[in-house]
Amino acid sequence: MDWVVLGAEELLGGEARKLKASIEETGSPLPAFAPYVYRVILEEKNADKETLAGMLAKLRIKELTAKVGPNESVEPFPAEVAFEGRFLTSPEKKPYGIPYEGALLQVFLRPLLKQAGFSRLSSLPVVLLPDLLATFEPSDRRYHLRMNVLGFPALISIPGIVLAPAKPREYYLLKRSGLDPAGLNRAFKALFIDHGDSRLPRVVAGLALQALAYLRTGNAFCDDARCSLHNAHWHHELIALYGPDEAQNAGLSQDIPLCSAHSRMVKDWKVTP
């Protein structure tokens, strides 16, 4: 099975090569790389810009604690559609902060990507996005930000890597007290993965492998917290996996840690495509 990562150049810039090197180092089959998802869709003429922008605007979640998701029958404001339209082909410039309904986005993208030649059996798309993604959690009846949404297509939120996993509890307590966020981020710099962090491409690589594992085995996650397929909910888990930022700045490693079972599994994928 082939797999394709869409949007790495746009969203990781020069760091996209690290993503490739990291995946390569695991012995997994290498993905192909394609442009940002809406560029592909528009190029294939699967939809026009205005339709895409209008649909995306409908998938905004206005309040994470809401008990219900976006109401697709409610027409978005023209300014919301215009906003989506402006950044449809320039994701690198899109301001983040609005969460989108991850499961509905997947449903929305699925037929468009199928028309563009992707399929669950022959060419799995892993879509990198500049947006926050959230999915509804029935246990506490509210939305939660996610780093990725598994399935076809697999979605990975780049700002979600910074914002979805929990930072230390003290961070949120101090933030609530009204401390300057920039100062707070500086004070906790060593304790979370921020935008521009050198570990980001490796985290993306780990999430992409989760997506591939899910499609091939029906199970994306590993119980071993030392494996990149572990479903991390905290930044300290990611940091334990990928090491300190400084080490990566020095270019010491492109390694994606995998437990022995999953290390064997991804290598086997090359043998049994």
Partner: protein, 265 residues
């Protein structure tokens, strides 16, 4: 002219009263019809008014308080230093407010200095103000906002039995909601079933300022939103005690209005 031995001119109470009433009435009559009415004299409303008036638009700002400037006097937590993330300092340069660099990309100015300069700058540009005037309703005609209904602020503060005072209407081409998180004008349209307003999200400075500027603009025919009202209108995160987003949103709304009226481009 002062009488000999007296410092001030010999003007009595009745002349002073006439001067107040006549000049107020003259201006009020003139602004019963205008090009643009901005509701809210906070930083985004003030900068928007300034930029519109500088392009020759007859601009009136309605403010419910006696004082103008909204939250721009205070930077947060009652401390009167106001912060700006780059490129907001360029607006300070434009209106002549001194500031210092706190760190790369972050600037600090004195709240009173920044706020008073901004008010003066709007006045110098030709903006007129109706302060102590509260927004009551919109004038809606042909599915377009074409004015506002206003009343004196104190009328709201007294028991209805005493102050059963009807409001009055002012007509205009464009109304701007710059009322902050309250988004009073937008919510008035919501109460009429014309819009659905989600309310603002949690405070999130890093994300909010870009989103506010990017969503600034027309929300209903004839009604534009800028500043904090944008966060309430679109349900995006609200800003913390930093002002670049509000200034740039005010400038953006002025540009959009001028574009829509085909002025200055």
């Amino acid at each position: 002219m002062a009488q000999e031995g007296r410092l001030f001119a010999p003007v009595g109470e009745k002349e002073i009263t006439r001067a107040i009433v006549n000049t107020f009435a003259k201006q009020f009559v003139e602004y019963v019809e205008s090009d643009c009415i901005i509701v809210g004299a906070g930083p985004s409303g003030l900068i928007a008014g300034r930029d519109l008036a500088r392009q020759g638009l007859k601009t009136l700002i309605v403010e419910r308080n006696n004082y103008l400037g909204g939250g721009f006097w205070i930077g947060g937590y009652l401390l009167n230093k106001v912060t700006f993330r780059a490129p907001g300092e360029k607006v300070l340069d434009e209106i002549g407010v001194p500031y210092e660099k706190a760190q790369e990309g972050l600037f600090v100015a004195d709240g009173p200095h920044a706020c008073s300069k901004l008010i003066a700058s709007a006045c110098d540009a030709g903006v007129k103000f109706a302060n102590m005037t509260i927004f009551d309703d919109v004038v809606l005609r042909d599915n377009r906002v074409q004015g506002v209904v206003v009343n004196w602020t104190p009328v709201r503060a007294l028991p209805r039995e005493i102050t059963c005072v009807d409001p009055i209407a002012l007509e205009t081409k464009i109304v701007v909601d710059a009322t902050g998180h309250d988004a009073l004008v937008v919510k008035m349209l919501e109460s009429k079933g014309l819009l659905k307003v989600p309310g603002h999200g949690s405070m999130w400075v890093e994300a909010s300022e870009d989103l506010v500027v990017e969503h600034t603009g027309e929300v209903y025919p004839g009604l534009f939103v800028c500043g904090m009202s944008v966060t309430t209108t679109y349900g995006i995160p609200r800003m913390g005690p930093t002002f670049s987003g509000m200034l740039l949103s005010g400038k953006r709304v002025a540009e959009t209005i001028l574009e829509s009226l085909k002025i200055g481009r």
